[in-house]
Symmetry: C2
């Protein structure tokens, strides 16, 4: 069986809304602060990390590119928190999410091409693929949760049902 | 009266410890995730935003450089939350904080030179100067608090007691 081929579409607030929040200056509420020297693009995302005494933590993920075409063999989700990613260097990157079904397959996947000035926050319990940079190495600032409770669920597709990403 | 002159020292975890957290990959706990394709530099800072039902929010501050020598005429603090800044472009920037006294003056100030791959999280109630980029424009990702309660206190120095920063 040939793999399902996903063609990424540009990441927009509207198209990503079922899966979480696009973190971008474009279209954000903004106002001047600090005696007019700084523009605050306000509250682009609200972390959802309080469940069961959790805390918001800040980490860096240093991601590397996978061989192309990128193969989507598994997905993961965080049942009790959001997870936000924002690129620290200005390069496009890939975002792959799945519909809100209990056991998604390749037919439930959606691929987005994010720019280097777009982050995403996956909403709680949204199936997503691990980080997919398109350059050899790219750092991301991460806001997710520390605390008790099992906050990771992984789903591996059967080998015959991978999807590949065609750019 | 001539202004007090502050000479910034390099930002380090040790020297900044009284004021908050340095957010940097260097020295952070790290481990491989995502089938070995990603390094997680874990929990470089823990947001302190839960007071009074507050939430962690993600914003961007687009800061601009001030005329040099930079004059320090005021300070601010957030009595019920931390506030984290991480640069989105790799340029040095200035961090100015004050000792934990109720009414700091120039004699209580400390200046740090942060690199473009160092962020800081000001701890709750720590006096700090608003954002001080050194290039014409620099974006920062911010993690701070939304919620009820008065979370901003500003202190303006008398005109005769400014400090300037000499680099």
């Amino acid at each position: 069986m040939s793999p399902r081929v996903l063609t990424p579409v540009p990441l927009t607030k509207e198209s990503f809304a079922p899966f979480g929040t696009v973190i971008e200056v474009e279209g954000a509420q903004s106002y001047l602060i600090n005696e007019g020297t700084t523009t605050r693009f306000h509250k682009m995302a609200v972390a959802d990390t309080d469940e069961d005494g959790g805390q918001s933590i800040i980490s860096v993920f240093r991601g590397t590119a996978r061989a192309e075409p990128v193969e989507i063999k598994m997905m993961e989700r965080h049942p009790i928190s959001s997870q936000a990613f924002y690129p620290l260097s200005n390069h496009d990157w890939l975002v792959v999410v799945a519909d809100a079904v209990s056991t998604p397959g390749p037919e439930h996947l959606h691929a987005f091409l994010a720019t280097g000035i777009q982050g995403v926050q996956y909403a709680r319990n949204v199936w997503h693929h691990p980080l997919l940079p398109l350059v050899s190495e790219q750092d991301f600032l991460i806001v997710d949760r520390a605390g008790s409770g099992d906050n990771l669920e992984e789903l591996f597709f059967p080998e015959t049902v991978i999807a590949t990403i065609d750019r």
